[in-house]
């Protein structure tokens, strides 16, 4: 349940941004997370609700955007993602190299938008 830690640090960051702009109440927070990041959306929503309940931010909305996995072949440089099936287990669709694929997208966890009043 590291989702609780993540939501707490998300709320700490949101609080900082709100204070900086003289806002009081959080209405929406958008989080983009990579496909390799081990978070459960349901758990994030649940933790968000628990941590905002009874605070000025109660009823704020958490919007989650999953960023699909994209890998790049270290040899031919081609980038491939979820348009191919089973992206984690296949060799490079162009040159066939299996090893050392670089994760271009999939490890991020970003707070990308806030709405507040």
């Amino acid at each position: 349940m590291h989702e609780m830690t993540l939501v707490q640090s998300l709320l700490d960051m949101a609080e900082e941004e709100l204070v900086r702009r003289d806002c009081k109440r959080l209405l929406l927070a958008r989080v983009e997370y990579g496909a390799l990041v081990g978070v459960m959306p349901e758990a994030l929503h649940c933790c968000f609700e628990i941590l905002t309940r009874g605070t000025v931010h109660e009823n704020a909305r958490l919007e989650l955007v999953r960023l699909p996995l994209r890998l790049r072949c270290p040899f031919c440089g081609v980038s491939f993602g979820e348009e191919v099936q089973d992206v984690l287990n296949i060799p490079c669709p162009v040159c066939g190299e299996f090893f050392g694929h670089i994760v271009e997208q999939g490890k991020e966890m970003i707070l990308s938008r806030l709405e507040a009043s």
Binding site: S9, M13, G38, E108
Partner: protein, 222 residues
Amino acid sequence: MQIPVIRNILEANEKMADKVRERLQQRDILTLNLISSPGAGKTSLLERTLRDLSGKFRMAVIEGDLQTSNDAERVAATGARAVQINTEGGCHLNSDMVSRALDKLDLDGVDILFIENVGNLVCPVEFDCGEDAKIALLSVTEGDDKPEKYPLLFSLGKAMVLNKIDLLPHVDFDVAKARAFAAKLNRELDILELSCRSGEGLDAWYHWLEKTRAGKKHGRSG
């Protein structure tokens, strides 16, 4: 009001991790964060390593555990300096816990610091503890598709240690398959096979530690 932001959710943890790293860097300590599922043999690997290399390196251990101090006691019995962090149900260590643990640890003359994380292949991976490298420990009594199921750990790790190889004749673990999956996202991953029980393969692990420690010192002076 719309507030455009682009901030890494883990930035507070990562800032603290950088402070921890700097603190350990100043003392020239190689720090390794040991991550595995429960029962893969983290504590056993440490017990063997701490005993066998006690003449070569001064080593210290930060022990992460949900409730007990059993592992810290096992580790301390080898004569190594150890400090326990109880997460009280928490599924991972973070940089703040490690920072506070360092306050309680005598770091004088320490060459290698091991952080034994909470047994879990998901949560600990996200939280940088200020280490130089993560070590993914796996055992042959688990599924050989673990690297495929938990790709982030194996893609971020510097080494994968495959433990309990003395049991290979009795289990269906496909070493080649596990190796291939692990190397798919991490070509630089060093893969070591060993058994803490029989001692097979431990020499290569000790050599890896020496090499990594020397590489760090060299990197600093150069």
